[in-house]
């Protein structure tokens, strides 16, 4: 599975949806994922890829990690996997 598919699988599980229901332009809010769901997703992503995601729930916009859509999350993870491998 590609990084993209693996991230989508994690987000889909959190949203209790099928991966096919997740669109790249969706925001986490669109998918019904709240702040606790977000930190749980980030934890699952860190576990899946053995990376560290620079995300602080107090100031999401200040983090060096863009969570504004599924697309930006995937792009961020692809970059982190490259940097941290």
């Amino acid at each position: 599975m590609s990084i993209k598919d693996r991230v989508i699988a994690i987000i889909a599980e959190q949203a209790v949806l099928e991966p096919s229901d997740i669109a790249l332009e969706n925001t986490l809010e669109d998918l019904g994922i709240d702040s606790l769901g977000l930190v749980e997703s980030i934890f699952a992503i860190e576990e899946e890829f053995d990376i560290s995601v620079p995300f602080n729930a107090n100031e999401p916009s200040e983090s060096d990690f863009d969570i504004s859509s599924v697309r930006t999350i995937i792009a961020g993870i692809e970059r982190l996997v490259k940097e941290q491998s």
């Binding site: 749980e40 980030i42 934890f43």
Partner: protein
Amino acid sequence: MKRVVITGAGTINALGATVPQTLEAMREGRCGISELEFRDVERLSIRIGGQVKNYDPETRFNRQQLALFDRFTQFTMIAAREAIAQAGLTFTGELAARAGVILGNSGGGMTTLDENYRSVYEDGKNRVHPFVVPKLMNNAAASHLSMEYNLKGPSFTVSTACASSNHAMAQAFQMVHGGITPVMVTGGSESMLCFGGVKAWEGLRVMSRDACRPFSANRNGMVQGEGAAIFVFEEYEHARKRGAEILAEVAGFAMTSDASDIVMPSKQGAARAIQGALRDARVNRDEVGYINAHGTGTAANDKTESAAVADVFGGHADKLMISSTKSMHAHLIGGTGAVELLACIMALRDGIIAPTIGYEEPDPECALDVVPNIARDARVDVALSNAFAFGGLNAVLALRRFS
């Protein structure tokens, strides 16, 4: 002051997954203590406990709930469902705004703590699940219960070791008694049966390796249990108007502090709490037919408790019955008073006194009628429930048969 009655009860513990199952086990004098089953148990010298067996959380809760519910919260939610269903209450509007939940708990999410310490210390992992804190905090159970049932009034968790539940129920009683709210959900829960939890208790060297035998001369210590019991405390007129079934009346309580030793119990502290509960409930000592003892099965507690009862009741001490149901469900620490209140309700409502099982040899220092081994039929008007915690914090509740 308002009269306070109990209109709902629920439990899960080593004796059963409901109140009827638990009371049946108590009537039959069945022992819920068994071999502990969890990871690394072979590294413990104490390997028995009142563990909830044949329990599959996956059949009780969904994935999101399980991510947030430690075992002590799971037990609370199960017991609360039974209690609130029996009470037949739905919390909306004014009632929701006033009703709250006060629970007793001592260890918090011990299993969560244990698993995550193991993960970072033993397995060397460097990250833990984001819900570790909300899962292990002592008030998690009270908070989830308030969310599930829309309880928006005074809500908190009391932590006074082995007296937590009695202190919690005393607070709930006081709130209804004083007219702050017509209904409170209360009780307690505990789940310390994991490697770290039992290892910590082992250190104190007060645990029995084979059985909990309260008041028996050959007693050799306490046995840990787990589970929860939850009750609905309701203002009498509120319950009467809606035709609710009344299980018993909560008549009064008292709490005292020994102010003497962090682990050794004090006769005076216990006696003052018992006396205070009688005074608060306005009952004469000869009206008390049954006491659910703290009765831990340790050398120190049982003789101190017996002496306190003898002091308070004088000649009547030989006429009343006192039993320790910890011999069956073991010691649920912060949840123990709640499970033991069920034995008081059974005595008052059903006229059946739960026995002290495992009783083998009389101890002259515990020369009371401890209802050895076999349950007994008796009409009881007033029952007390004792809890004397480590740290010398005592809480005694007085219940009256509702008629």
